[in-house]
Amino acid sequence: MKIIKTAVSAALAAAVSFSAQAAEVEVLHWWTSGGEAASAAELKRMLEERGHTWKDFAVAGGGGESAMTVLKTRVVSGNAPTAAQIKGPSIQEWGDEGVLADIDELAEAEGWDDLLPEVVAEAMKYDGHYVAVPVNVHRVNWLWSNPEVFEKAGAELPTTWDEFFVAADKIKAAGFTALAHGGQPWQDATTFEAVALGVGGTDFYTKAFVDLDADALSGETMVKVLETYRKTRQYTDAGAPGRDWNLATAMVINGEAAMQIMGDWAKGEFTAAGKVPGKDYVCSAAPGTLDAFTFNIDSFVMFALDGEDASEGQADLASTILSPAFQEVFNLNKGSIPARLNLPMDKFDDCAKLSGADFVATAETGKLVPSMAHGMSTFSSVQGAIFDVVTEFYNDESISAEAAARKMLSAVQSAQ
């Protein structure tokens, strides 16, 4: 009997020590479409090269909403995955629940503090410890335009909101839709934050959407921002409500519409349609935000798991994600730019190069701000409260800008 017991425990020990080198890495993500799925496959290949097994845990749909629901149930039932795609202040929310693992050891060894811009590094930390690794940087304040439509209408590419309305009037008169838009709350908010940044500037933006300052949320600047924002609605078409963003992008591609305000994932649609930047379409900063940059960073957060092998797997995963090879492949596929500084950008297109240069420049001037519409600046509850006010104001002409600004303040306060 005793012999059997010893044999079993020896076998167990052997199994444990074997798995210390080869961990099973389970990663929750929602990269299920086209270029994103190709990137996930690349990550899998690189991890397998390091001797780990990859257990795919992809939950498609809803920009990650469904994935988050699944993740919550997994964590509550004590069965967290190795890592999950979580971004922005949600990292802090998960940190508060006490379920994250720190990867300081790796971060120190690889010198992440020097590799990453400070804003990015701060977002990856909970309570001063690295708990997440950034994958990419999306710029949100882009204006995508079709130069052919501009030419036909005799309009010029706008760099301020005043110019925007001048150009939009000409385009509308020429029989085109000036602004391609999809009336879904997050798209309404994407346009809104571009207007807020363009009209109010970065200081106002930061005060309102990062610090949630009462004066900024309900003050005069906000009223002006809201008024400008609603004015853009006249330049959208009647089919906008409920439209998906990629269909709005298609309107610009087909020459039905002149402009769209959307993050750089829109570039994937242009590329897929065989369009060339600078010739068939133009990417420029949203009006009035030339020297600013609203970022949306995807990241992977590590969960606290039992066992040495698990943390080794996490370290290898994080190190792979931040490796120059993966950063380049992934971001070429996705349309974004690498999260680590000083990577050669030769293989990227002009839009990405511009984004990369602006990213570095704004990081120094302090005009690199988190995107409110994409959950980078506040908790999801506050973000939702702002969405509600913005989308209601946009769709209901009977609400005055002053009333909406007051509503914004009270909604944000009650959601905190």
Partner: protein, 293 residues
């Protein structure tokens, strides 16, 4: 002859029912209780068990979006039920005239019920879209000023949900009524005809009064479809424009699962439960009293 305790007829039914009973207790009543507790807790992103009193309910009641959702449920529920009953009843009366190919026509009207609400919602979304559907069609035909933009008009969008819902469910109500009409003793109708009653009189005085129980079943089914409606709204309007077509079910989903406010979400679902209870309790009461009498 008294049955022995060991007679299978005594213990077998109880044994067979026990697992179902247990599952119902845990997974329905147990979870209702858990949800009730969460609505009094400080839960945000994940369930937490610190007592917060009525704080979540205060938040809920000061939330504009909740009141829009509640009002929409009222508008949608009332119109949906009334129109389904009217359309269903009329269809049933027409089909009751022993017309030819009744079987085929009945199937045509009943078919929408076989579709999921997601399919219905998506199809109607396209038809009602001003740039794609009905409005464009009529304008292309030469009616330049024809406007039907309810889907994108925040004040009217909830009525498009009613249209799609009635289209989907009135065939089912028709089938219920038709079955009820066929169940009425033919000899009564014949006797009335002998007495010289006209067709409208026969329907008004004999057939409709006999449809009471059917009406009640239809009402219960439609009410619960209305209260739990979620998929139709998500597919048709996505709750928009803005949040003008939000209903309590979509509100609960948004708050509990995507906004990290489980407390507010649970409080809202408790309010939904209370609404159902307010309808069900009088019903149960009247049912049970009738049985006893």
């Amino acid at each position: 002859m008294s049955r022995s305790k060991f007679d299978p007829q005594v213990w077998l039914p109880k044994l067979v029912l026990a697992p179902t009973m247990l599952i119902t207790l845990v997974f329905i009543y147990g979870f209702v209780a858990w949800n009730a507790y969460l609505s009094f807790s400080k839960s945000r992103m994940l369930p937490r068990y610190d007592w917060a009193g009525l704080q979540q309910y205060e938040r809920l009641f000061s939330n504009d979006r909740w009141w829009v959702a509640a009002q929409n449920l009222f508008i949608f529920g009332a119109l949906f039920i009334v129109f389904c009953l009217i359309v269903g009843l009329l269809l049933a009366i027409f089909l009751d005239q022993r017309i030819r190919i009744e079987g085929a026509i009945r199937t045509v009207y009943l078919y929408p019920m076989a579709l999921s609400f997601v399919v219905t919602g998506t199809a109607w979304k396209w038809m009602l879209n001003p740039e794609l559907g009905l409005q464009k069609l009529l304008r292309d035909w030469g009616f330049e000023n024809f406007t039907f933009d309810w889907l994108v008009n925040p004040d009217m969008a909830i009525y498009t949900v009613v249209i799609a819902g009635v289209w989907q469910s009135s065939g089912f109500v028709m089938a219920l009524f038709l079955a009820g009409m066929r169940g009425i003793d033919d000899s009564i109708v014949k006797a009335a005809q002998v007495d010289g009653a006209t067709l409208p009189t026969i329907y008004r005085r004999i057939i409709l009064p006999n449809l009471g129980p059917v009406l009640f079943s239809a009402l219960i089914v439609l009410t619960h479809i209305a209260i739990k409606s979620f998929d139709l709204i998500v597919a048709l309007t996505g709750g928009g424009p803005g949040f003008s077509t939000d209903v309590p079910a979509t509100f609960v989903y948004a708050y509990a699962f995507t906004r990290g406010q489980i407390g507010v979400g649970s409080a809202a679902s408790m309010m939904m439960l209370m609404a159902v209870v307010a309808i069900i309790i009088p019903y149960l009461y009247s049912e049970l009293r009738e049985k006893r009498a």
